[in-house]
């Protein structure tokens, strides 16, 4: 699964996504752990904000390999 990165996260990873493998039945929290391991340079907070298929998702949401998962740094629109 390619997890999408933006803004400061993308800069820190020097990439707009990071590839991680997720087991069948994995949850958002597992994806977070996998991203931490794969790209330790990303300054993730204790509980990163994650979106699954364009919706904010809590850590216990189950993700499928086909889902679009994105890590959302603190937003700054307006």
């Amino acid at each position: 699964m390619d997890v999408l990165l933006f803004a400061s996260y993308a800069d820190a990873a020097a990439a707009s996504s990071v590839r991680v493998s997720v087991a069948e039945g994995a949850r958002v929290a597992d994806v977070v752990a996998a991203v931490r391991a794969a790209a330790p340079a990303i300054p993730l907070p204790a509980r990163p904000v994650v979106a699954v298929n364009h919706r904010y998702a809590s850590p216990d949401v189950v993700v499928a390999a086909t889902d679009e998962v994105a890590f959302i740094p603190p937003v700054a629109g307006g």
Partner: protein, 159 residues
Amino acid sequence: MRTALVGRRLDVGAIASEVWAPANGALSLFVGTVRNVNDGRAVAGIEYNAYAPMAERELGAIAREAAVRFGTEHIVIEHRTGFLPLGEASVAIAVAHPHRAPALDGARWIIEELKARVPIWKREHYTDGTREWVAQGAVAQAAPAEGAPAAATRGVSDA
């Protein structure tokens, strides 16, 4: 009701006209613009990046929620992306209603929601040539079930 993430200049006058209707007695418009100083640093412009499909989805959700909450369909929200020089409008929100209170409350509620939850980021470009992502104290941006203290989230991400 219309929302859009756009790559061109915002036409604030057209947005205001768009929400007017014969039953409306009040129109409230909020425009965010690029200012020349932030935290004491001279700004040359701001680059806005968005997670486009999700930002569009959130903008639409905010407009629909505002329609229910304030009782009007006459709502337009446009947010610009890309590099904006000084003075350019980054966001325009127009709300019209028969009465003034919901029009004023609606525009205010929308800008606060937008800043809290729409996945858009800005990088300020300073006149000294440096640039930096801005974290704007988005207290409410955590996902519904997250529960992480916003200050902690912010503290680490700002680093």
